[in-house]
Symmetry: C2
Subunit: 141 residues, 2 copies
DNA sequence: AACGAGATCAAGAATAATTCTAATTAAGTA
DNA sequence: TACTTAATTAGAATTATTCTTGATCTCGTT
């Protein structure tokens, strides 16, 4: 699979080599954007690259996160999930079906923090019920 | 230690019994607001209640979170930390010293989500460097 | 194209966080 | 007080993540 030069540039800019394994892990994340866990990425990667190991998947994810190509999604006491959406966005967690959806951030929020803080990253996570689950329950009445 | 009736009310309103262990765990979280992990809460609780077990600490934290008295703080691939601040606020993680600070949310942001989502909770987490670490580095020059 | 240095990988062991199990104890209620 | 149910304890079990070591690959230089 051919990745855009944007991706390769971003990796090399972070001093990170583009290896077949990292390419594969990134491809998995771009293919199905359902925010898989490391183990799920591992299972999917093995289909095309049967020799890849779980430790390597973790290493690749670390490298991709460090380069800014991948974001981690942290939910309550659940395994970390990963996301290849480069656009500025936040996450919605459906407590009924467990899905995580990307939410395009409409406006860049002007956070007002107390003086003296240097903010490098802001992360917004919503929790509730997704449209599919709300509809499903309505039709059950 | 005597807890305010507000707390007891909130617990019973959630159908959760107020036990000595839950009282102790909550007291620990209110005493030092440094967002400890479950294991840290366990260690601190043992000082006043030597027989408490780690499983109980987890159970108590679950109960307190369910009642809304305690919030979980999720950071990248780190153990979950806990927070007893009832006021609407967000969290700042200092990537230099590892501290987590409560940030009073200045304005309630009017989130605009796509239609059909039911949002029950919104969580904002910042990452960067805290005032103390920025000052420390300046004085090292 | 071959070479060497350093980064990366694979496999499995090790660690750490969290959950589960089963027996005992405590809380709320008649 | 006796009963019923929920909560606690201790330790085993599970799960997520990290570490270790030797083999392999990549890249920049010949």
């Amino acid at each position: 699979m051919r990745l855009s030069s944007d991706v390769t540039n971003r990796l090399t800019a972070s001093g990170i080599r583009l290896t077949r394994q990292r390419e594969e892990v990134l491809a998995v994340l771009m293919q199905k954007r359902d925010h898989p866990t490391a183990v799920e990425v591992f299972i999917r990667s093995k289909k095309h690259m049967p020799t890849i190991s779980l430790a390597t998947v973790y290493n690749c994810l670390d490298a991709l996160v460090a380069s800014g190509l991948v974001k981690q999604v942290n939910l309550d006491r659940a395994p970390t999930r990963y996301c290849a959406n480069l656009l500025d966005h936040s996450h919605f967690f459906c407590e009924e079906c467990g899905a995580v959806h990307d939410i395009e951030t409409p406006v860049h929020q002007p956070w007002t923090l107390p003086a003296g803080y240097l903010v490098k990253q802001a992360e917004v996570t919503f929790r509730g019920r997704c449209p599919a689950c709300i509809n499903k329950n309505l039709s059950n009445l």
